[in-house]
């Protein structure tokens, strides 16, 4: 990346930052030993459970694994519009 485009704040971030971001993402999956496909399946299931109770804005859903030191955390951000009444049928 040229100096000029860096000064102007354009273009890609430096490759060291890209390496760091990619590593952090891949290691979360390595450490929890869950392949991305299984993770995607879990997200779908999770979402289908939530959407039985809430009206969900599925475009805004963000479910990610994060880590601090060597512990992992599943963080789900699910924008909802309101509760669905009809689920209470027990």
């Amino acid at each position: 990346m040229s100096l000029l485009s860096r000064i102007l704040g354009r273009g890609e971030p430096p490759s060291g930052q890209i390496a760091k971001d990619r590593l952090q993402l891949v290691l979360v999956h390595d450490r929890i030993s869950m392949p991305p496909a299984q993770m995607a399946a879990m997200k779908d299931e999770l979402l289908s459970v939530v959407s039985r109770y809430f009206q969900v804005d599925s475009d805004g859903v963000e479910i990610t694994l994060t880590q601090s030191r060597r512990t992992n955390r599943l963080v789900a951000e699910v924008p909802v519009f309101g509760a669905l009444r009809r689920v209470v049928d027990s």
Binding site: S15, G16, A19, K20, L23, V26, R31
Partner: protein, 264 residues
Amino acid sequence: MGRVITVTSGKGGVGKTTATANIAAALAMAGRKVVAVDTDIGLRNLDVVLGLENRIVYDVVDVLEGRCRPRQALIRDKRMSELFLLPASQTRDKDAVQPEQMVTLCNDLRDQFDFIILDSPAGIERGFRVALAPADQVLIVTTPEVSAVRDADRVIGLVEAAEKGPPQLIINRLKRDMIRRGDMLSPDDVIEILAVDLIGLVPEDEAVVVSTNRGQPLVLDGNHLAGRAFRDIARRLQGEDVPLSEPRASRGVLSRIVRFVRQA
């Protein structure tokens, strides 16, 4: 009672053998009695890096299978009388050694040496397990590249699962200019990602290639950057509190004087 230190990495080619040879030599220069053990059965290399390949009679598998006593297989380095090599076998494979056998051998060596440094094979299979089994302390070598750091992370997990305590990290082949440009993971990045303690930062140094060509550990001669870094690691292993900074090339007379005064 000697301490067993295993040097490992996961990924191959990141500098395990160079690190083992130079740390062992630096400890011997400091007056410690040291044996460097090559546990890479079938792919031995510590002998050539140390320049002792022409003096091998017996190897570690000969010792473990009772064809000779440990003393007969040990090669004394003529340049540093306190440094010994126990070479790997070149004709056998990793299945020739059990982890328990390596534990027994290292326990024998503890009586005679201050430090027993094991050079582990790459990978996370049998050979790695054999090298890990006797360890009191584990050093992980990585380079600031995605593949090496990823493999280091895997190995750190395995070391911790084997209850060998938190390993310590050596980051090898750092290039200051690339880090400054943002085109290489910095030591801080690597530490943040791996969440382990650092024991050494080793700059990229062409002198490493030259010293390997000659079979003379870098720490033996001169003031090369990487040699200084390995000497610093050896001092930390002996309990000295050496600040963790990457050695830099001196800029001029003034910085040389400052360093001379500090070392005096």
